[in-house]
Amino acid sequence: MTSATSTDSNSALPAMGLDATPDEAYNASENIVRVRGVKRTYYIGENPVHALRGIDLDIKRGEFMAIMGPSGSGKSTLFNMVGGLDKPTSGTVFIDEVDIAQLDPGELAWLRCRKIGYIFQTFNLIPVMTALENVTLPMIFAGASLEEQMEKGRRLLELVGLGHRLHNKPGQLSGGQQQRVAIARALANDPAIILADEPTGNLDQKVGEEIIMMLKRLNKESGVTVITATHDDKMYKRSDRVAIVIDGEIQAVIPPDLLGDNTVDGFLQQMKDDKEAAEAAAITATNETIVASS
């Protein structure tokens, strides 16, 4: 019942490969992330948990992509795959046309360091380090000089409005401020992609919206691709496309205005209703043909 629902813009391309048409090849270069047939099964003892059941998804360079879905639907699992933090049970993730499963640990570390900026629901700042030190940490890993680190660290913290809090530890900052430090840290090595897994999950409405606006602004101004998971209905309005994940499958990839003022739940209900209506229509149709042919 759920199988054939991958829709419109996320065209279910045949697994890109040997016989890619020129058209597909062009599409491919435009897509910074391509996810093909990704499955992830966890085992709890002997029992398999199918967190992802075969995901196909293309994300364009410079796009602001929201991934929505109820709790436990597999959003974080998908993020871990795209971010190279975990390997799919089967299927492939391409970042800039590189199959990340083929990378050795050194290359993977480079990818995490330079290509991808991570933002987490729980901020994940290093508690013993100041805001500035947190932001410069990825630059240390990238081998930047001390002057570069300090100059850029300051600039990034100013960019997120924390120029006056350089030397505060995370414990001395509010949740929203901590998340802004995390955003600055994610930007440290000018990544091509920002992966934000429920960045507003631990923040109240107003602060959450500030964070969303900030991500949106960065996306507009620097062209960084933003992929964000959320079950916050505020987030999708700012995004270019919304992917709806239910139970480890992508149900639909739609522009946000198609959701209108609907919540995701409302949209899903509507989708279900439409489908039932369609099925009912199909049944009537077959009945009619049966009647007609007899």
Binding site: E97, D104, G106, L111, N124, M129, F141, G143
Partner: protein
């Protein structure tokens, strides 16, 4: 393999040792209380070791000939103290790694290589081991000396100093050795697993 990965992905550089050293030092100074407890284990073990050595010197200074049985007993004590030291340090390092799973996961997300994580923990424990055993050895020597002030003139101070240095070396070495298994474990952990672990 190398030919398959396109040129756009490079390999992460390993960090210079001094960066790992700086971060490790900060970890210690910032969690000083925690570090003191870890260091205290080493300190006590080494203080005991040193006092065994110093007692021998004191007996020598007093002109007492040690019997084989006594020598055997003191060797036994030395072995015990080293064992206690080793177990204590392994335990504290394991705890300190477990406490920091999430931090390790974050480090990995930001591009840290396994080697860097290992270096971080080994440097940390080397520093703790060095200072812990230095303090321990001094305490051990002072204790024996202060309880035997009469031998001050005849004590072989050169040997005492050499023993002290040996104790510091042993303590530092033991600390590093004890930290290897937990450090390896920390480094080998998948970033996701490390971050998911709530302690």
């Amino acid at each position: 393999m190398a030919t398959m990965s396109p040129t756009r992905v490079e390999r992460q550089i390993s960090l210079p040792f001094n960066q790992a050293f700086k971060i490790a030092l900060r970890n210690i100074t910032i969690r000083l209380g925690r570090a003191m407890i870890t260091g205290a284990g080493t300190m006590l073990g080494i203080a005991f070791l040193m006092s065994v050595f110093a007692s021998k010197l004191v007996l020598q200074a007093k002109g007492v000939q040690l019997e084989p049985a006594q020598i055997q007993k003191s060797n036994w004590l030395v072995a015990m103290s080293l064992l206690v030291c080793f177990v204590g340090i392994t335990n504290s390092m394991l705890m300190s790694v477990t406490e920091r799973y999430k931090e390790i996961g974050t480090f990995k997300c930001l591009g840290a290589l396994d080697k860097f994580i290992i270096n971080l923990f080994l440097i940390e424990s080397a520093l703790l081991g060095f200072f812990g055993s230095l303090v321990g050895a001094i305490i051990g020597l002072l204790f024996v000396w202060l309880t035997n002030l009469s031998v001050t003139g005849t004590l072989d101070w050169v040997s005492a100093l050499l023993n002290l240095l040996a104790c510091v070396a042993v303590g530092t070495f033991l600390s590093v050795a004890a930290a290897i298994p937990p450090a390896m474990r920390a480094a080998k952990m998948q970033a996701v697993d490390a971050m998911r672990t709530e302690v």
